[in-house]
Subunit: 131 residues, 2 copies
DNA sequence: CTTGACCTTCCAGTTACTGGAAGAATTACC
DNA sequence: GGTAATTCTTCCAGTAACTGGAAGGTCAAG
């Protein structure tokens, strides 16, 4: 599969896909014509990268998460340790996202565009006064 | 409140706080000595920025979300429209985060570090085969 | 057989910070 | 009161993670 198709399947621009190769996140085969040739596994990685980056994980965190898949020979305790660390992070993100969700839901349901000077949107957005 | 204290309260480095001022996300008062002076409202904004950026929202998206608070005189239909758009985005992020969470939970619970060549971690991480 | 879409590499520009220098203001200690 | 450490200021340069564009090779359609 060439880069255009991989781009469609993963939701990442071709530019970004080449960049991820540059920094060593994946290394697709090359066809005889020199074109990159992406396997299904490559596409899975790209799709994962597209998601994880959009969820605020850094490229280095993504590299670690991909390594959980790549390093199947890694001691399972290492894998579990990394996974557990990331799980805590995910739970934090889930909580924060739900708080933001509730705030915006409240805004949609109750905001009338008035000038109330004590509008508490930000307090709740910022998590200072979680609902 | 000076920048060091605002940094502590918001979880953002002072450098980043000054940067956010440079690009117009907030404009704290200045004390007589020239030091920046942050109000509680400023700190709420900073805390919100810290969270929203960590959840994968761009600075421009954050600017829009802050505007929901700032522009209280904006027509409520505009506010609601923006909020609804962001709500869809948040729901997508929540779904993706939960999928990633389930994958890692599975990994912690069942991975034994073996060499199974058909290890389906990535398929599930990438959302190609959601659980 | 050429036109157009898609691929290649390379180099420069953008976004969102991040580090460090040089100097002024405040606080902490003797 | 003096001075040393801390915290603040601005400015300028560097990094991370892309993103755009040029110059050119490959390939499928008409």
């Amino acid at each position: 599969m060439n880069i255009g198709h991989a781009s469609e399947k993963s939701g990442l621009p071709a530019k970004t896909i080449r960049y991820y190769e540059d920094i060593g996140l994946l290394k697709p085969d090359r066809s005889d014509n020199g074109y990159r040739d992406y396997s299904m596994s490559d596409v899975h990685k790209l799709r994962f990268l597209q998601r994880a980056r959009g969820l605020g994980f850094s490229v280095e965190e993504c590299r670690q998460l991909l390594a959980l898949y790549e390093d199947k020979d890694r001691a399972s305790s290492d894998v579990k340790s990394i996974a557990r660390t990331k799980l805590k992070e995910i739970e934090r993100k889930l909580t924060e996202l739900r708080e933001l969700q509730h705030t915006l839901q409240h805004l949609v349901a109750h905001c009338h565009g008035d000038q109330r000077p004590d509008c508490p949107i930000l307090e709740r957005i910022s998590g200072t006064r979680p609902e």
